[in-house]
């Protein structure tokens, strides 16, 4: 299986703080994999480096063959076929659900603003197709009928799903999900887990997630990297990770997750 994303020696410093320290991963095409780690480990910062929100202080990020994406702007990264969601939902909150998805489709629009002013046939056709696709995505994430709701009026779980729909709208090759189940109840989490699997199996998108819910992580990941203080302390299959003493220590040592069940129960 080929590698869709690999990071080499990625370092991100904030003044004296090294938030990401030579973090290296290789994401296999058409896989589901996770980055886990205690709070403040640097996971989100790592995602931000990949998606162009931050420029890594050092290191290389290679995407889809041999494209170097380190230091590109977020829009350029998206055009290459990467897409993401956010730990704290960041929808366009005053726009409707459909409009959010339409904005997500941005890179597939071809017509010019002049065509919009004159409402040319091409423009109308493109808008209609985009709307159709947006409604299809809305249904796909299970939000049919909620398209005209303003995003911030949607229930929490629906907002998380809408954010995924918006990310899918750009038809990415690789989808990065930052704690997609945060704030969901156990049932919703399980449902989302199945949804992520469907995404990979039916749509063929590679998924990389950051996740705290060990049930979800261990349940769907094929490969896991563990981060602590910006460094990679372990990698491997869920089974490897569950039995790795360093991982257990990192979680227990951080205090935040004492007594955490690393999903062995499943």
């Amino acid at each position: 299986m080929s590698i869709i994303l690999s990071t080499r020696n990625v370092i991100k410093r904030f003044g004296g703080l090294v938030a990401v320290n030579s973090f290296e991963i290789e994401v296999k095409e058409n896989s589901i994999s996770s980055v886990i780690g205690p709070n403040g480990a640097g996971k989100t910062t790592f995602f931000n480096c990949i998606t162009g929100f931050y420029t890594p202080t050092e290191g290389e990020i290679i995407f889809d063959g041999d494209h170097h994406i380190e230091g590109l702007r977020p829009d350029q990264v998206t055009l290459k076929g990467l897409s993401r969601t956010y730990q704290n939902i960041r929808l366009f909150s005053k726009m409707t659900a459909i409009e959010n998805i339409l904005v997500g489709q941005h890179k597939h629009f071809k017509t010019h603003w002049l065509e919009a002013i004159f409402k040319t046939k091409g423009f109308i056709k493109e808008e209609e197709e985009a709307l159709e696709e947006a409604i299809r995505l809305l249904n796909f994430v299970g939000l049919s009928g909620l398209g005209d709701q303003v995003a911030h009026n949607l229930p929490y779980g629906a907002q998380r799903r809408l954010e995924i729909a918006r990310a899918l709208a750009s038809k990415p090759k690789l989808l990065l999900l930052d704690e997609p189940t945060a704030g969901m109840n156990p049932n919703e989490s399980i449902e989302l887990m199945h949804f992520i699997r469907r995404l990979r199996d039916e749509v063929g998108i590679t998924v990389l997630l950051i996740e705290h819910d060990m049930k979800v992580v261990m349940g769907i990941s094929e490969e896991i990297w563990v981060m602590d203080f910006g460094q990679k302390i372990a990698e491997g299959t869920p089974h490897d990770i569950q039995t790795n003493p360093k991982v257990i220590e990192a979680y227990l040592g951080s205090g935040a997750a004492s007594g955490l069940n690393l999903g062995k129960g499943e």
């Binding site: 960041r90 726009m95 904005v103 941005h106 919009a116 002013i117």
Partner: protein, 556 residues
């Protein structure tokens, strides 16, 4: 919901109302409006503003009050009114016994005369107290009435006050249409004949009463119409609107058309700034710069005076040049500036607006832009050999500009570009992560805004026939921004509402001109508190359900 009210509450509310009136007195607002009689021999606009505050306070205090008998809320209203008169009475006593004018220029014998109804200090103060108390009690009483009676009553009073307030303008219209005799009968001098006032009240109240009873039925039938019929009706409505817009100058007459034209210029600017601030969320405080550029380009290219280039430009050929120059400056300014966010952008654009004005005044460009003397003898537009001199003719030039701007703004709003702007306004980082180039997107907003403003400036120059640098100061930018906020940020109909309220009304109510900033301030605060989304906020378009509807129609 129902609250019991303590004596302390009543007194403190009365005093708050009293202090508001006191400040209106002290700044000279009341005296000025006191000269403006509304109904002959009865009362003036000053009286209305004087008593409006305690009446409003009394009304809202007693509206949801518990009471055993109606006497209680009415009594509370009475006390609030009486208490609210006290600060003004103290002011009257101070004024008659000391000379306050060196501190407070407007506390004059004229004010005392007005506040005491010309009845001397003691008797007058007593009358003032009673006037406030009775009117406030009346407000409380109205608050107790059944909606069925209250609504027609209030509507009737509002119509009378409205017509009386705008008497100056209406008088001219009526005189021109029905002759001097009729005008003189309705408005004696410039104030409303009491009998006519009563008649207006009865008609307005009567119609409201009738509508309240029958109207629901009509609304129900309307809701029951089929979609096709509804469509026809709304088509009919737009047709009527179009005819009205087309023949508006005939309806309004010269003076009002002139006012409308000025409002139109502001609407044009508002539509442009609405794209920049409302759609794209870029706070541009130097928007007047593009207005100035448009005006100066028009001036330099077409002026028949000493400064005119005299190279054969007419209004119509100079117009696109003015717009393109504004766009060019928009881009020149935009490229370095649009990387900045929020506050920085506001400050830099503020500076840009000032720079353009300072350059226009400066000696450096005196040879081309005329310095402080400006550019004179700019010809009015010509249309197939007819020089458009009258406001009624110029109206159509302004209308053309506004329609074009509305058309472009609407089309862009409903396109991908419009969605990009809104996304950027909501969350710039995430918008960028959707794959859009932020600088290009912002530049489009800036350039479109500049184009509309440049167009407005060019029309303005030709309409006025002379331009001076001081016409392009910061206050214009602020006015345009304020009208967008009042109308509803990001709403196209809101621009019209905002311009009518903030530009149209003050032109009709000359008395208010001096206090324009005060009224802006109060209006904006009230807006922020009670209607933060503006008078005519933007409504999100329904997309999902609209296609559902079309689908279901297609299935039938």
């Amino acid at each position: 919901m129902n609250k019991s009210i303590t004596i302390k509450d009543i007194i403190s509310k009365g005093l708050i109302a009293g202090v508001v009136i006191l400040s209106l007195n002290v700044i000279g607002f009341i005296t000025l409006l006191g000269e403006r009689e509304l109904i002959t021999g009865w009362f003036s606009l000053g009286h209305v503003f004087l008593v409006a505050t305690p009446m409003a306070v009394a009304y809202f205090t007693t509206k949801n009050m518990d009471y055993e008998s109606k006497a209680k809320p009415i009594g509370v209203g009475f006390v609030i009114g009486a208490v609210s008169a006290i600060p003004s009475i103290i002011l009257v006593f101070l004024e008659t016994n000391t000379d306050l004018r060196q501190f407070l220029a407007n506390v004059s014998p004229a004010l005392t005369e007005f506040l005491t109804f010309g009845q001397g200090v003691v008797a007058g103060s007593f009358i003032l107290l009673l006037f406030f108390a009775v009117m406030s009690a009346l407000a409380s009483f109205v608050g107790l009435l059944d909606k069925k009676i209250q609504h027609p009553l209030v509507t009737g009073v509002a119509w009378v006050l409205g017509i009386a307030t705008f008497s100056e303008v209406l008088l001219i219209r009526i005189r021109d249409t029905f002759g001097r005799g009729v005008a003189k009968f309705i408005f004696e001098g410039e104030t409303l004949n009491p009998i006519i006032a009563l008649f207006i009240f009865l008609v307005a109240a009567g119609i409201t009463l009738w509508w309240d009873q029958k109207g629901d039925g009509i609304k129900v039938t309307f809701a029951g119409f089929s979609p096709q019929k509804k469509k026809q009706l709304s088509k009919g409505r737009s047709l009527i609107l179009m005819v009205v817009i087309l023949f508006l100058p005939l309806l309004l007459g010269s003076y009002l058309t002139e006012v409308t034209n000025n409002v139109g210029i502001y609407i044009l600017m508002g539509l442009g700034l609405n794209i920049v601030v409302g759609f794209a969320g870029l706070l541009d405080l130097g928007y007047v710069a593009f207005f100035a550029i448009g005006a100066y380009v028009m001036g330099v290219l077409t002026s028949e005076g000493a400064l005119g280039l005299d190279i054969g430009f007419t209004f119509w050929t100079a117009l696109p040049v003015a717009v393109l120059t504004a766009i060019l400056f928009g881009i020149i300014l935009g490229v370095p500036v649009l990387g900045m966010r929020g506050d920085y952008l506001a400050i830099v654009t503020l500076g840009f607006g000032e720079i353009i004005r300072v350059l226009a005044v400066s000696d450096v460009f005196k040879g081309t832009l005329g310095g402080a003397q400006g550019i004179l003898q700019i010809p009015k537009p010509e249309f197939f050999g007819i020089r458009l001199v009258q406001p009624e003719q110029l109206y159509y030039v302004v209308l053309g500009g506004v329609l074009l701007a509305v058309f472009i703004a609407t089309r862009l709003r409903d396109s991908r570009l419009g969605r990009q702007w809104m996304a950027m306004r909501e969350d710039e980082d995430v918008a960028e992560a959707m794959g859009m180039n932020l600088v290009a997107t912002k530049l489009m907003a800036f350039a479109t805004g500049a184009a509309f403003s440049g167009l407005a400036g060019a029309i303005f120059a030709s309409k006025l026939t002379s331009i001076f640098p001081h016409s392009f100061n910061l206050i214009i930018s602020i006015n345009v921004l304020a009208l967008i906020i009042v109308g509803g940020v990001g709403s196209i109909p809101g621009v019209f509402a905002g311009a009518l309220i903030l530009v149209g009304l003050p032109e009709l109510l000359r008395e208010f001109a001096e206090f324009r900033m005060l009224i802006y301030g109060v209006l904006l605060i009230v807006m922020m508190l009670y209607k933060p989304e503006g008078f005519l906020p933007d409504e999100r378009r329904k997309r999902e359900s609209s296609t559902d509807e079309e689908l279901s129609l297609a299935e039938n």
